[in-house]
Amino acid sequence: MAHAVEPEYTTTGLSHRKMLMWVFLGSDCLFFGALIATYMVYRGQSLVGPYPIDIISVPVTTISTFVLLMSSFAMVQALAATNADNKRGIVGWLLATAFLGAIFIGFQVFEFNSFKNEGLTLGGNLFGASFFTLTGFHGAHVTLGIIWLLAMAIMAAKGRVGPKTALDVELLGLYWHFVDIVWIVIFTLLYLIGGFDAGPLVPPGG
């Protein structure tokens, strides 16, 4: 990752890797789009409980959402430190981003566990299936991002990250912010709007 030193000729002037990341994020939009569509189609279609209002806690998840948003702030700082060639800043902010991401995952583990204890399972009803699938794949994205952040922090500690390789950090940042934005959509739809659904909204087949 840390070898892109010579500037490459490109038609648009944009680096290949940055363009790759943007197109990939476009692809990932459709991935989450289809998962969110599944959730929305099945909203209020569960035949048995638990229903969202029984278990969703908006205040708790608001805290974890805030933590994830703050991790984006730390990510921006990491990139700024990279451009400023401040090695301690790079390592520190990358670890801070990973740490905040890990707290978010910790909340999610706690949440999944308590939901399970309250009877929400993959096989129990459609709400459980679509909720766990969507938020689970989002959590997997965050986890992958944390691994990436830690790997980058190790490289930074070895002095292999700096202004010349700022693109490496920038790409990581693009991914991280994207995952963050997806969470904002999920939080809005599944918690703020759908979190108060009680029972079937429409009769099955109606």
Binding site: A2, T11, H16, M19, F24, A34, N125
Partner: protein, 612 residues
């Protein structure tokens, strides 16, 4: 991490099997894709042969319904995902960097990774034959037939996991081509100076990047239903099987254009060369391709007219489907305009391209007849649909691919496929194709449903079915002639670098192209750059007869071969394989893939060189 990189020292040999396994050269990857696709063409073709053998006579007991279901499912899945798509990707790989004046794709190792993941995904799906649990729910595997109570063995898990793995390969490959085409064009090659094939590759790649995630979600949900107890598509538990159809066809209709646009690009390269005049209405062909790419997202429910979505939905999708015929028609008229008053040369490539137009028009017309939803109610799930899809996919995509094979083979190998054998190949294929699939229109209108394993004589379907089976035999001979034609070129003499007096940049360099493609990156002044160069030389009285001179390859810095793509691909394949056997294998695969990514990241894209 440095230790990991040290374990696998950079491969240095370009020869032998290791050379192929570690190659990152787009031309060699094209050969890998092409050979794989031809092998799967044989497999899918043999499966079709068994189907035709079974249907050749009424009340046949050559095979039972279970085997029949497996064979038509695997025939369609193989032909679509393991023949037409890799054939297209093979052309993307070989032609695109050459046609845009680049030395390779933007991410050579990612390109190799795509191939190996694709191959392993295809093998995972075909392993179902070895364990005797073969997918059997049709190529679009409608829920809830695919759910546990109705499909107990693991066949559909092989199907879903195999497609998931191959989907990852398709997306990775397509990302690469989007970046390559947008970012690696030779100086002066603006978007509107790009060859049409490159345009169609770009549109196809964008469709792949956006469509595959949707089927990925569908397949994940199906896998979860079958293995983790969810009820996404089980109506008894509130699930909705129609959601599967939506997810499948939101992917599936763009997929249809993923299959046909490359063929349209290929014939757009061939018509001008063998008509001796430039492509008629280049911008119209390009923009109608773009319009097809966009509108392809707004027609998916025409696969679902009989589901009961209601008159409003059916009317809307009838209208959008009819509209999408317009840009396709625009292209056909432009091709005919290119032929008009041209000095037409009937080479094999040209004949396949002309065959493409003729057959694709027939397929397009039957397509319009079921774009009309009331008329589709008559045709849904009959052999009329089978006839339609074979006219567009066989008559369209496969004829386009054969045109491209005959056209670019001299560039790939420096040798010409035999034209006499080629014409025999064409006529056998053209006659066999019509003999097999044209009767199916009548069978369908006479009420023969698709996917039935046998029928009784009193329906009166036997003669036409026998004709179709006879056509299959002709097609099989066409395939044999093609393979023999490939085989016999090993002794044939070398031809010039530009045997067709062609127009694209790829013809300005030696055949086969050197590893670095272009010794000097060309400066592009207009559409059909090589014609411009040849015309200028002719006017100056010094006709251009030689390809660009070869240079010492070590003077050009090229990406070096690497073990990491195939290593990482093994990890990805094991993740999928573990889901079918033991989850521990998935974790092992995840670890291997992770090590692969770390090793990959620590390995420079090109080995250090003194010329640097």
């Amino acid at each position: 991490m440095a230790a990991i990189t040290g374990v696998l020292a950079r491969p240095t040999s370009y020869a032998g099997i290791w050379g192929w396994m570690t190659t990152v050269d787009h031309k060699r990857i094209a050969v890998l894709y092409g050979v794989t696709a031809v092998i799967f063409l044989l497999i899918g073709g043999v499966e079709a042969g068994f189907l035709r053998m079974q249907l050749a006579s009424a009340d046949n007991d050559f095979m039972g319904p279970a085997r029949f279901n497996q064979l038509f499912t695997m025939h369609a899945t193989t032909m679509i995902f393991m023949v037409i798509m890799p054939l297209s990707v093979s052309f993307f790989n070989f032609v695109v960097p050459l046609a845009i004046g680049a030395r390779d794709v933007a991410f050579p190792r990612l390109n190799a990774l795509s191939y190996w993941i694709f191959l392993f995904g295809a093998l995972i799906m075909h392993m179902s034959f070895l364990v005797g649990q073969v997918p059997d729910a049709g190529w679009f595997s409608y829920a809830n037939l695919t759910e546990k109570p109705f499909s107990i063995d693991r066949g559909l898990d092989y199907w879903a996991i195999g497609l998931l793995v191959m989907g990852a390969a398709s997306v990775a490959g397509a990302l690469n081509f989007v970046v390559t085409i947008i970012n690696m064009r030779a100086p002066g090659m603006s978007m509107m100076r790009m060859p049409v094939f490159v345009w169609m590759t770009l549109i196809t790649s964008i469709l792949l990047v956006l469509a595959f995630p949707v089927i990925t979600v569908g397949l994940i949900e199906l896998t979860m239903d079958r293995n983790f107890g969810t009820h996404f598509f089980i109506p008894a538990e509130g699930g909705d099987p129609i959601l599967w159809q939506h997810l499948f066809w939101v992917f599936g209709h763009p997929e249809v254009y993923i299959l046909i646009l490359p063929a349209m690009g290929i014939v757009s390269e061939i018509f001008p060369v063998f008509s001796g005049k430039p492509l008629f209405g280049y911008p119209f062909i390009v923009f109608s391709g773009i319009v097809i790419g966009i509108m392809g997202w707004a027609v998916w429910s025409h696969h679902m007219f009989t589901v009961g979505l209601g008159p409003v939905a059916n009317s809307v999708f009838t209208i959008t489907t009819m509209l999408i015929a317009v840009p396709t028609g625009v292209k056909i008229f432009n091709w005919i305009g290119t032929l008009w008053r041209g000095a037409i040369e009937f080479t094999t490539a040209m004949m396949f391209a002309l065959g493409f137009i003729a057959l694709f028009i027939i397929g397009g017309l039957s397509g319009i007849s079921h774009a009309i939803s009331p008329s589709d109610f008559q045709q849904q799930d009959t052999y009329y649909i089978v006839a339609h899809i074979h006219y567009v996919l066989f008559g369209g995509s496969i004829f386009g691919a054969f045109a491209g094979l005959y056209y670019w083979y001299p560039k790939l190998t420096g040798k010409m496929l035999d034209e006499t054998l080629g014409k025999l190949n064409f006529w056998l294929m053209f006659i066999g194709m019509n003999l097999t699939f044209f009767p199916m229109h009548f069978l369908g209108l006479n009420g023969m449903p698709r996917r039935i394993y046998t029928y009784t004589a009193e329906f009166g379907w036997e003669n036409l079915n026998r004709l179709a089976s006879l056509g299959y035999i002709v097609l099989f001979f066409a395939f044999l002639v093609f393979i023999y034609n490939l085989w016999q070129t090993r002794n044939s003499r070398r031809v010039s670098h530009d045997p067709w007096d062609a127009l694209g940049l790829e013809w300005s360099i030696a055949s086969p192209p050197p590893a670095y493609n272009f010794a000097e990156i060309p400066q592009v002044e207009g559409l059909d750059q090589y014609w411009i160069m040849k015309e200028r030389a002719r006017a100056a009285g010094t006709p251009l007869t030689e390809p660009e001179a070869l240079v010492d390859p070590s003077s050009i810095h090229m990406p070096s071969p690497s073990y990491w793509p195939i290593f990482t691909a093994v990890g990805v394949a094991l993740i999928g394989g573990g889901l079918l056997s033991h989850y521990a294998i998935s974790f092992l695969g995840g670890a291997i893939a992770m090590i692969g990514v770390i090793g990959w990241g620590n390995e420079p894209a090109a080995a250090p060189s003194e010329h640097h």
